[in-house]
Symmetry: none
Subunit: 188 residues, 2 copies
DNA sequence: GAAAAGTGTTGCGGATATTGAACATGAAAA
DNA sequence: TTTTCATGTTCAATATCCGCAACACTTTTC
C-alpha cells in the first residue's frame, strides 16, 4: 500500500469536501462519473495521484469544473499586470472575449475586452442573479437592446445596466466592434 | 504508440500554447520543471493523459496555476450590455476622466474612459477603504506603479489591483494615453 | 560544406494509476 | 438476533504513465 504524499492528500481532501458538500457517497459519485469507487477512495485518502482525465470524469459527477476545483491553490501575491497576449481569450462564435486575470476567484469584478466580428450577435440574454455591467465602445458599431430600449452605439458611447434585465448585443456596420466592459460581481 | 484522445489533445494544445507564449522550448520547460522533455512532447501531442502531479510540476515552470490552466474549460454562457450616452467629463490637470453614468448613487461600480495628456501624472495615490480597480490600455503608453511593482503598459495590456495598495499612473512616450478602467465600489 | 547545437518525436523498462472484486464496519429492517 | 443494505477500505491484475536514451530533422556556427 502506497504512502500518502502531501500534494495528493491535499487534493484528496478537496475532493472529499466537494463530494460531501454535494451530498454524494463515494459509490453514488462513482456511478454518476462511471469510475470505480475504489479510485475515488484512493484519491480521497491521498494514496494516489490521479490522471487529469480521471479527475475530470469524477468532477463531472459532482459537478464542478477543473478550474474551480483547483481554485483553492490560489497564489498569495496579487497579480497586477497582464500583457496583451496573456489576457485569457474566450472565443465563442464571432465574439472574442479577452479577460483581465484568467481566474476570477476572490475578485470583486471582471474586466473584458470584447471584439465582435461582422455579423456577431449574442442573442437574448438574462441573468437570474443580481449583477451590474457596463462598458464603453472603442471602435465599430453595435446595436444594444436592454429591456424595451434599443440603440446603436459608436466609438466613445457607453452603457450600464442591471444584468437581470434581458439584453442583447449585435454587431452593426462594416467593421468589427471593440468594447471594453466590466461587471460586478464576476459572472458569465 | 498510443492514439490521441480528444480531451488529451485539447489539453495538449492548451499546454503548447502556454509554453510557446512563455517563449520556452519543450526542453527548456522540461529543465525548469524537472520533468523529461519526452513527457511534455507526449502530452502536447495528445498521446498521454498526464497525472495531476505531473501537470502541476510542468505548469510551475511556465509558470501558471492549475486553476488558470483549466480556465479554458469554462463554458461561456453569455455576457451582454446596454447603451447610455453622455459621459460626464471630469478634468483635472493633464488627466481627463469620462465617467459612464453621471450619477453613481446605487451603482456597484464605476467605469471610466481616462485620457492622459503628455506628461500627465497622478502622483502617489492610496485609498483608505476597500476597493478594487482594473483597466485595459487602448492606446499610448503609461507607467503603472502598484506597491513595489512597476511596469510600462501599451495597447491591449491590462492591470488589476487592490485600491488600498499605493499606486501611481504616469503617461509615457510621444502620444496621449487612453485607458478604459473600472472600479468597485465607486470611489475617487 | 561539415560540425555543433537546437528543435520535437519515438522505444523501452520500471513505476504507478486504474479496475473489479473481496473485505470490514455500522446502521436500519425483519 | 439475524438479515439486509449502506458506507469506506484494501487487494491483485492489468493498463498506463514516466523517465532515460536514442532518433530524425532544422538552424546556427565554424
Amino acid at each position: 500500500m502506497k504512502n500518502a504524499n502531501h500534494d495528493d492528500l491535499t487534493l484528496g481532501l478537496r475532493l472529499r469536501t466537494l463530494r460531501e458538500r454535494a451530498g454524494l457517497s463515494q459509490r453514488a459519485l462513482a456511478k454518476k462519473s462511471e469510475v470505480p469507487n475504489s479510485t475515488i477512495s484512493l484519491i480521497e485518502s491521498g494514496k494516489m495521484n490521479p490522471s487529469v482525465g480521471a479527475l475530470r470524469r469524477i468532477l463531472q459527477g459532482i459537478p464542478i469544473g477543473m478550474s474551480d476545483f483547483f481554485s483553492f491553490e490560489i497564489e498569495t501575491e496579487q497579480t497586477v499586470f497582464y500583457a496583451a497576449e496573456e489576457l485569457t481569450e474566450i472565443g465563442k462564435g464571432g465574439l472574442s472575449l479577452r479577460q483581465v486575470g484568467s481566474n476570477l476567484h476572490g475578485r470583486a469584478m471582471m474586466i473584458l475586452q470584447e471584439t465582435y466580428d461582422l455579423g456577431a450577435d449574442t442573442g437574448r440574454v438574462m441573468y437570474g442573479h443580481e449583477a451590474e455591467e457596463g462598458g464603453i465602445v472603442i471602435s465599430g458599431r453595435v446595436e444594444v437592446t436592454v429591456g424595451e430600449q434599443r440603440k446603436v452605439l459608436g466609438p466613445g458611447d457607453a452603457y450600464y445596466f442591471d444584468s437581470r434585465t434581458p439584453h442583447r448585443f449585435r454587431q452593426m456596420g462594416p467593421e468589427k466592434c471593440r468594447i471594453v466592459s466590466a461587471c460586478t460581481p464576476p459572472t458569465f
